[in-house]
């Protein structure tokens, strides 16, 4: 094994290796949830704690991440021998050494099976997994959480269990634990959206945490010191810190920066570009902001010029803004990732540009005001975060009924604006060129 675990990860590993039932592992951005999950699976198999392990993720890219980590832990030969990737063939990364198959006999013969939630139905109901690791990121429905559990039920043991535990289970998670399901759900309740249609509903991770034991990872290997501190205070993690080797990481340009962008592309980790463009309605519930879209593309162009090797992601809450930005990028023939906050979950980039979009005289921030969306947007970058949008709007923003979550009665846009301005970053006025 070439990867070393940090003390948090080792603690979680030692705890979960011997304890049964359903449990949660909270991992803020970059804390190595996938790494911990993959190590756990390997340890279970190598030390004989389980005969087979199922690794489940909601998206194909997250399932591929599991496969990537496993191949790093086990090496190409080991991963080829022990693991199989199952589900939707075009979604699997062919560059990884882990073979792909939906053949039930082959799947049964392997020790570690990687699959997406949606593809679980391709696995036969007759397979039972002694242990499972579920990546909660992206799960917005309870049934997505429950479908892997169904493959862990010890049907034969139910009647024996019934003798001892009848009438004790009060909720589905307890019931699952009592029926012999051993599952570790890794995720972050402060990044996940609620399950169900109501915005004040619990997220899948909160659902697990409410009824099961859990532990938290506190060391991030992605966010540099200031960004880790901002995210920690913004989302109230209670002690998120940067690992020493990346704490002082800063953005450095290779070429001279254009004078219009000097203030924006400063070495500060967090920069808020105060820009006042008008928001426009689109679709049944989406918004876009042309001025911001053009500004993001201009900043992206400059970044590509001065630091061509850096990866850049543009993140926004709104699908329509994503479409508008993509349109301008295509016009200029620039390749760059543009993601919505939902799509950005689980991704990272050296530099992240976050477009706020909302700007109106009523100061209604709408869906942008949710903790989960803002948290995802600010916690993707490895070197620099650039927030583009009206600072005044966010500072005085009114959160709508969307945010009347009884558990989170806070004005998150305001909190973010204050933390950036007063403690962890700097607010700069947008240069005139960004309005053109």
């Amino acid at each position: 094994m070439t990867i070393k675990l940090n003390p948090d990860q080792s603690r979680v590993l030692n705890w979960r290796i011997k304890s049964g039932g359903v449990a949660g592992v909270i991992g803020p951005a970059g804390c190595g949830k996938t790494t911990t999950g993959s190590f756990l699976a390997v340890k279970m198999i190598c030390e004989g704690y389980a005969k087979n392990v199922l690794l489940v993720a909601f998206t194909n890219s997250a399932a591929n991440e599991f496969a990537r980590e496993l191949s790093m832990v086990l090496g190409p030969e080991g991963s080829k021998f022990l693991c199989v990737r199952s589900g939707y063939a075009p979604g699997a990364d062919p560059r990884l050494p882990i073979p792909f198959s939906n053949n039930i006999e082959l799947v049964r013969a392997k020790k570690i099976v990687i699959c997406t939630t949606q593809s679980l139905k391709r696995l036969s109901a007759s397979i039972r997994f002694e242990n499972m690791i579920i990546d909660e990121a992206g799960i917005e429905r309870l049934e997505h959480l429950l479908s892997p559990f169904a493959l862990g039920i010890n049907q034969l043991g139910i009647h024996l269990i019934k003798e001892n535990i009848s009438y004790e289970a009060n909720n589905i998670i307890e019931l699952a634990s009592k029926c012999g399901i051993v599952a570790t759900v890794v995720g972050d309740p402060k990044q996940s959206r609620p399950i169900g249609l109501a915005d004040y509903d619990l997220s899948a991770m909160e659902w697990v945490l409410k009824c099961a034991r859990y532990d938290t990872l506190y060391t991030t290997h992605r966010l540099p010191d200031k960004l880790a501190m901002l995210v920690d205070e913004f989302a109230d993690y209670g002690g998120l810190n940067s690992s020493p080797e990346i704490a002082s990481r800063r953005f450095e340009a290779i070429h001279d920066i254009d004078e219009n962008f000097i203030e924006i592309l400063n070495p500060e980790v967090i920069t808020w570009v105060n820009l006042n463009g008008n928001e426009m309605m689109a679709g049944p519930s989406s918004w876009y902001n042309e001025v911001e879209a053009k500004a993001c593309v201009r900043i992206c162009c400059e970044l590509k010029r001065v630091a061509p090797s850096k990866s850049i992601s543009i993140v926004t809450r709104y699908t329509e803004q994503r479409r508008t930005i993509l349109k301008y990028l295509q016009h200029l023939d620039i390749e760059s990732r543009v993601l919505t906050t939902t799509g950005a979950l689980g991704t990272q980039a050296d530099i992240v540009i976050f477009s706020l979009v909302r700007n109106n005289p009523e100061r209604l921030v709408g869906a942008l005001g949710s903790l989960q969306d803002l948290n995802v947007a600010i916690s993707r970058s490895k070197e620099k975060l650039i927030i583009v949008g009206s600072f005044e709007m966010m500072l005085n923003g009114v959160t709508s009924s969307y945010n009347l979550n009884p558990r989170h009665k806070q004005n998150f846009p305001q909190k973010l604006a204050r933390l950036v301005d007063k403690k962890y970053g700097m607010v700069v006025e947008a240069p005139k060129i960004l309005y053109k």
Partner: protein, 478 residues
């Protein structure tokens, strides 16, 4: 000039706000649609419908590869060799059957090859006799058509296959296998890949009649207007079944009652189930009967107050989740309801203009080219309000038809680049069909959604059963 621009902006915003308000209003309403197949299930037994919704107990895990392949073949051949060789009152039907089979052999072989390839790629089980079975059923269907259908009916002026019709007013939607258009009306065909004489439920007949109501709606804008209806029939492996006109009319009431029942159940209302004297599933002990009896027992124990408190508490959670999933099912039909509502309010042209402004639908596309299951369309400007992965309904506007009953296909957006949009269809066959009957019409792309609620309900059902196994005392389970 400034004033004019300002007025235009205000108008634009008013239009958009109007559409958004319609969305907000309809989100709070029930936007469920009942499928013809679901109505047919409810007609067999209302408990069977509840097994699908809200319980989520899938009755069968069978892979209908053969049946689906035959449907695909028929959908292409109907407008080709079958249509071209249609002669009324044939005596030597065997000769014509052979001719049609011979002329369609290329289509049949291509579809069999494509389907086998896809099935192998997806690691689905393909029987050794797959090709044989498909050919056998196809030949049987052709024989039935030449012997019975062509004998009785003229060659139609046009044939449409796999047409999805939505009747919002009556909460009804269905996909018709084939519609034959005549100068004086229309006829309906439904393919069945098995022998009808072996079936006992009558489900096929009800599905056909439910679809006939949709056809009435498509051609006459009212499901009760039978003036254009010529015939409806089921073409099956060993012949053609024509329900009598009196039977059809008599069963319409039953269809409507069960459609109402299904709609009320989907909306979460409490409806008393009318169990038939004989249920072909439970009374015969067929697939699904165990599940059905499980929920019947659950209801009985709950009524008698014998269920343990923990179990009752847990089942309440399960039902809350089930109805939340059903609410999502309703949301998949939201765009169609908005279209209907705006058309009723402003008329078709104005409604389409407003919807286009807000990006719910887009017009002005023309077909460029296709590669396998991908199709590229282009339009004059590059303002395409769609993004990759969005599901769209491609509608070919037909004169005099309601927009939601025009010919259409579903696809997902693959790529949007400048003024071109690439759509991914379900299969190469869907593309081939669309090229024949859809792409030459003025095209509208309307936002749509996939309905995945059945697979969402399934784990809830599994855990409901698990909870019963663990928490209900053994003596009550006997």
């Amino acid at each position: 000039m400034d004033v004019e621009e300002g007025t235009e902006n205000i108008n634009l915003n008013t239009d958009i706000i109007d559409v958004r308000k319609t969305y907000d209003y309809l989100r709070k309403c029930q936007t469920h649609l009942v499928q013809s197949s679901e109505i047919a299930t409810a007609c067999v037994c209302q408990n069977l419908f509840k097994l699908d919704y809200p319980f989520g107990a899938t009755r069968s895990d069978k892979d209908y590869l053969v049946a689906n392949t035959v449907h695909d073949i028929m959908s292409i051949c109907m407008g080709g060799p079958i249509f071209e060789n249609w002669h009324r009152g044939l005596e030597n039907y065997e000769q014509i059957t052979k001719k049609i089979v011979k002329e369609s052999s290329e289509i049949v072989n291509t579809i069999i090859k494509d389907t086998s390839e896809i099935a192998h790629r997806e690691n689905r089980f393909v029987e050794d006799t797959f090709e044989l079975q498909v050919n056998d059923i196809y030949n049987g269907l052709i024989m039935g058509m030449t012997r019975r259908l062509m004998k009785k009916h003229e060659r139609p002026s046009r044939v449409l296959t796999e047409v999805t019709i939505t009747n919002i007013k009556d909460h009804h939607e269905g996909r018709i296998d084939a519609i034959l258009e005549y100068s004086n009306g229309y006829g309906l065909l439904d393919w069945k890949s098995y022998d009808l004489s072996n079936t006992i439920s009558g489900r096929e007949k009800w599905q056909l009649i439910a679809n006939t109501l949709l056809a009435n709606f498509r051609y006459r804008r009212s499901e009760d207007d039978w003036t254009g209806h010529n015939f409806s029939c089921i073409v099956h492996n060993s012949g053609v079944y024509f329900p009598k006109a009196e039977t059809t009319r008599k069963e319409v009431e039953r269809i409507k009652t069960n459609r109402k029942f299904a709609h009320m159940i989907l909306c979460g209302e409490r409806v008393r189930v009318q169990r038939p004297k004989f249920c072909p599933v439970c009374d015969k002990g067929l697939e699904g009967s165990k599940e059905c009896l499980f929920y019947q027992r659950d209801a009985r124990l709950a009524y008698e107050g014998k269920l343990p408190a923990q179990y009752e508490k847990m089942t309440k959670q399960f039902f809350a989740k089930r109805y939340a999933i059903l609410k999502e099912r309703a949301e998949t039909h939201l765009h169609k309801h908005v279209v209907f509502s705006l058309i009723s309010k402003h008329g078709e042209e104005e409604a389409l203009r407003r919807l286009e402004k807000i990006g719910i639908l887009c017009r002005g596309y023309s077909f460029d080219f296709d590669i396998d299951e991908k199709v590229v369309f282009s339009r004059a400007d590059d303002n395409i309000p769609l993004e990759p992965r969005r599901i769209v309904r491609i509608i070919g506007i037909e004169e005099g038809k309601s927009i939601l009953s025009c010919i259409n296909e579903q696809a997902s957006v693959m790529e949007v680049r400048n003024n071109k949009i690439t759509l991914s269809f379900r299969s190469k066959i869907a593309v081939r069909r669309a090229k024949r009957q859809l792409f030459h019409l003025p095209i509208i792309l309307l936002r749509d959604e996939l309905n995945l609620t059945r697979s969402m309900l399934r784990p809830i059902h599994q855990f409901h059963k698990l909870a019963a196994d663990v928490l209900i005392p053994a003596e009550l389970l006997v």
